[in-house]
Structure formats: C-alpha cells, structure tokens
Subunit: 384 residues, 2 copies
C-alpha cells in the first residue's frame, strides 16, 4: 500500500511537471496506476441493441470498451438512469473517478454533483457539446472536461443540409399526403422551392459551419456566415462565402438560417422575439446546435404567425423533450430527437475517441489539445 | 378568307423549306397565322392558388400566359379534368391545335385521342417526361412533341439528394417520435448512418444524374454510374465517378441506388424481383424518374423483407396514386406525390419554356433542338 502510494505520488509529480501553468485547483489531471471506477451514462437501446453490431453508443453497446476496461482491472458501470437522488448515477457519484456522458441523453453534472464527487477527476463527453456540465463548477473543482472533438462534424453538417432541403423543398406535407391516402400536388408545390439561388446564412462557422458551407458550394447559393473571426481567406475564397460581422445585419438577408454556435452564457436565448423579428418573413431555420439558443415560445409564436416558415433541428430544451414540448406541435416543424451526431459512423468515431483518452489518462499522457473543454481551471475559448 | 388561306399556304411552304428531312407524315410542324385553340391540363390548386403569386403551374395560374395568348387572338382552355369520355379535355380533343400537359398531373394522350384530334399539331409538356403521350402514335400521326428540356434538372437532382439523406440518416422515424410525443434515440440511431464514405450508384447519367453526382462530390462518397455512354472524360474526372458498363455488376456494390433513366419499353419493369435480388441487402433506393421502372409488388415485397432498407421517390404507377397503392403503406418508405420538378422555381422555368415554344410555333420557327421528343416522325434518342 505504501509502495502504491509512493508510485501515485511520483506519477502525480511527473504529470504535474508535464503540464505548464498548473493550477493549484487541479485535483488530479492524470490518473494514478490504481484501479478506477468509470461510469458511463448513455441512452438505452432495448430491442434495438441487437439489431446492429456497430451500435456502440447505447447502454448495451457501452462504447465497446467494457472488455478492455475490465481486463485492465477497472470497474465500469453503465446506466441510462441519471435523474434525481434515487438514480443509478447518483449512487456512484461519491466514488467514481471518471464520468462519461453524452449529449444525446445528457446526464446533468451540476455544481452539487461535482461537490459530492470527491474522487472525480475526469469528465468525458462521448460526442460534442458539454453544456450539460456546469463547466465553471468543474473548472473551480480542478476537473478535466474533454470531448471527442471532430467526431460529429460530418454527421451534423450532413444532417443540417438534409434539414435545409426538407424545409426549402417542403418535403413533409407531401409525405403526409402519401400516408393519409391523399394526392394534392398544389398543397405541396405552392411553397416548395429549389435551394439553388437562395441565401443561406450560418450563425457560427466553426468546424461544422465550415463543412456545411463546403457541402453547399455546388448548390449555387448565396452563402453568408457570422462568427467572431473570419474564415481563413484561402478557404473563404474556395467556398465563396461572405463574412457578416454584424449578426443583425445578416438576418434580413437570409432565406435559410443555420445555427452553428455552442450554447454559452452569450448565446443562451440569442434568438428571442426581437431577433426573430429581424429575420426575413418566412425564414427557414435549422438548429442542430442547442435548443436553449432559441427562446422556446418565441419560436412557437413565429411559426404560428408564419414569420418563421419552417423550423427543423434535433436539439431541445430540455432533453429528452417532454411530451408537451410545444415544438412538437407547432406548424411547419421538421424536428427529431437529438440524433444527428449519433449515427452509427459517429458512434464508432466517438467510442474510439473515448478509448483513446482513457488510454492516455491511464498512462498519464496529454489528450489531443482540441479535445479539452476544461483544463487546469480554464474553459476552452468556445465556451467562454 | 382566300387571302388568309394563301398566307397560310405560303407560311407552310416557308416552314417546310426550313425543315430538312421533312417526313411525309408531318401534319403541320409549324403554325399557320390562324387563331389557335390551345388546351392546357394542369393540377388544380383551389385554396392554394392565391397563396403565391409565382404559383403558375396550376390550373388557376395557367402558366401565366393567358393574357398574352388571348391578346394574340388565340383561344386558351385550361382544365384539370382529363380522364374518360365525359372529361373536359375529351370535349376539346376534336378541335384543339395545341395540347399542353404536365407530368405532375398527366393527361394520357393515347392513340385513340390522337386519332380523334384531327387539328392537333403540337403536344407540349410543361416539365420533363412525355411518357404519358403515346409517342409512337404521335410520331405516326406526324405530330410534334416537345418538352422544356432542362427545366427540372436542378429541382430533381436536389430532391434526390434530399431523399438520399432522409433514407441514409433515417430521418422519418425521428420525426414520427416527435409528433407522437416520444423520445427514443436508439430507435433511430441503430440504423442511421452518415452519407460520407458510402457507395452511391446512379442508373442513368443524363443531365439530372450528372448534376446529382456533381452535388454529391463534396460528400466524399464512392460514386458509380451506369449508362449507355460514358460521361465526358473531363467531367468524369472532375466528379470522380466511375463508369459501370454492366448494370447487374454495379448493383451489389451500391449502398444507395438512384434511378435517373426515362421510362421506355426497355426500362419498364427494369427493377423486377430478380434485379432487386441482385442489390446489396438493405439497399436504399431513390426513384424520381418513373414509377413503372419498378415492379410495384417486387418493391413492396423487398421493403417488407428488409432487402430494400428504404425507398423514396415522387413517381408512381399510375398517377395520381390511388388511395390503396401499396407503396403508401410499405415499411421504410419516404414517398411524396409527384412534386420534385414542380417547385416554384421549376414552374417559372417551364412556363417560360412553354411560352417560348408557343411564340416560335406561331412564328413558324424551330424550337431549341434539345426540346424535341417527337419530330418529323422520329422519337428523340432517350425515348427509343
């Protein structure tokens, strides 16, 4: 036991020396050689679990890392039960070392849970988007928070393009006619358009926004983007997108708006009644970023009035969306549960990313720099 | 009256001299200066007609050419009533000179109708796809049949890409959950994929097929095409698509198949039970070409067995699809009524194309060469 402790101390010292600007708040950035208790919170697949051998993102699939973790002597608990003091998650909070969560079934990691989690060192997000974690509390407690950066980029950008087409081309009313035994071309065609020639603006041009713009390029649209920084001039020229410094100046130009910005204190409720009013009448909005960037009721009201001509996305506030969430029932919605970043392809990418980070954590190695959301008491720039 | 007849004879002679290889079968390729009776058969819009000033493709919109035609002294009758001997269309068959039809609400121009239409000279398709006309009978009768070639290319290619994404990403089960008050990510995710990296094959690489391949380019897929001829090598290289001479050799390679070939005697029933069996298990099929290219029941059976993993398209056999058409009720379908080529943008294009051809017809001028489907007793190559 004494030897084990000495080794732990040595590893801590080594880790510490590897990290510059080490904060006194950091609990323990890298693992000791001890056996760890790792808890994963994912969505349950039930009858769907066995339908696809690559379905690793669910409780049953457990990211495909159970055998590996257990062979290394670690304890690995996986659950979907995350809400309240009686939940399975809550039981393990006091002694878990690593908590793996996912935006598709978010376990809310509050300041209270962080305070209670005395052994917690590492919060990993299987996917992208860690706003279900109280990042300031995590930073203050010296925890490391990391995502599998890049794992969802292709998936979400593709999904956004699908949703743009579904809204612009007015797909759903036609589908409804089919299943209802109807045939009324006019009922679809009077508000169906080609995407070609329309003006598309993205609010945020990070990895997903940029990839969306690249995939939109051959559609011959007028492409605009708003962000804090301009895209690299070479890429901007290649895509042919135009920078809009002032969001409110971009809004009235857009036939379609796509939200591609993380949820932060600055973007929460960004699209309220006043800002939606600045959009073109009939604007189509796609939001796969976060539900809370929109004012829920303002979106409902604008869909009802027709000011928003169509709204699609896979993010809600809160998640899972309750049965009576008004976005389920507003006109011209093309919503789904939170799904775009958890295709089978994306699951394989983020499962591999989580395994890679755990491996590095066990060895006391750094993660890929772009994965850190909270490190040594500091939030990553996109969450500030 | 004598003078008018002399003028008509002179114009006929002039027209005739303009046309090389004139067939003795040609009734009258170009118009005399007389007032013409023009009949248009479109879908009725009813309450939707007034909702969009650019909604010209419906009965009420009448292609936006009524004022112009009537100011030139022509008679212009527009109806949606096309079936049977008591229909409005049938009443005008004996004395109409020009019949404008549309694939979105096809007036079937049979050999019997052609025989009865003693004054008929010109059959115009507002859109693309003239298989609702008995082209051999039209050729034998010396009629001219023309389409607005190119008017639907962008619309249909975009729509195909939308449908590919809807199937690959498993959009509809998520949408159903939303409207049914449910939330079950696993129920969607277990068969949702990214498009990136998948193999897409198009059966036919005419204008629409080529544009689809171009728009798919940035998605980093494996692109295959089957056609009678190879694409121009420059363009083929730019798109990065691979030619497949043998359709049956291409089928087992494709995750997604897109049908982009006209309906002809050779393609009718092309995808029967045997050919579908040659496809990869779980293949996703998009067909915006013509319903009759598929064996209706073979598609139903393969969707039921899971051999076809998803089927989407906007074409049916017949159209309008009856209430009990089995494609309405088969699993994993993402169908709509025939809509992709009749977006508002497409309507404006084909309305302009019809006006242009009528103008040329009145003046005794040739149409753009690519518009002819039947000319001087000959069918255009794609319909042979």
């Amino acid at each position: 036991m004494a030897m084990k402790q000495a080794a732990t101390t040595a590893i801590r010292a080594l880790s510490s020396s590897l990290i510059s600007h080490s904060s006194p708040l950091v609990r323990q950035l890298h693992a000791s050689a001890e056996s760890k208790k790792i808890v994963g919170v994912f969505y349950k697949a039930n009858e769907y679990a066995a339908m696809n051998p690559n379905f690793v993102g669910c409780v049953e699939g457990a990211l495909g890392i159970r055998e590996w973790l257990e062979s290394q002597g670690h304890e690995y608990i996986v659950t979907d039960d995350k809400e309240g003091l009686d939940s399975e998650l809550e039981k393990h909070i006091p002694d878990l070392h690593v908590l793996i969560t996912t935006p598709f079934h978010p376990a809310y990691v509050t300041a209270e849970r962080i305070k209670k989690a005395k052994n917690l060192q590492l919060l990993l997000t299987a996917g992208i988007g860690s706003d279900h974690v109280d990042l300031n509390a995590a930073a203050a407690a010296g925890l490391t928070v990391a995502e599998v950066t890049g794992s969802n980029v292709v998936s979400v950008a593709e999904d956004e393009l699908m949703r743009i087409l579904i809204l612009v081309r007015n797909f759903l009313p036609g589908y409804h006619q089919v299943v209802n035994g109807e045939w009324n071309v006019a009922g679809i065609a009077h508000r169906a358009y080609d995407l070609e020639g329309k003006t598309i603006g993205t609010v945020g041009a990070g990895r997903i926004g940029k990839l969306l713009l690249q995939r939109l390029k051959p559609f011959n649209c007028n492409l605009l983007y708003h962000d804090r920084l301009k895209i690299d001039p070479e890429l901007e020229k290649q895509i042919g997108a135009q920078f809009e410094e002032d969001l409110d100046a971009m809004l009235p130009k857009c036939d379609v708006l796509v939200i591609n910005t993380p949820l932060t204190d600055k973007t929460r409720g960004l699209f309220n009644k006043e800002r939606i009013a600045k959009c073109k009448k009939g604007v189509l909005i796609v939001n796969n970023a976060r539900g809370a960037i929109m004012d829920t009721q303002a979106v409902v009201d604008a869909c009802n009035s027709g000011h928003i001509g169509g709204y699609s996305g896979d993010v809600w506030n809160p998640q899972p969306a309750p049965k009576d969430h008004p976005w389920r029932y507003m006109p011209n919605q093309a919503m789904t549960p939170h799904i775009s970043g958890t295709t089978i392809d994306a699951q394989l990418r983020y499962a591999a990313g989580i395994k890679d980070m755990l491996e590095r954590y066990f060895k006391g190695e750094e993660f890929p720099a772009q994965n850190y959301i909270v490190k040594e008491g500091q939030l990553a720039p996109q969450y500030r």
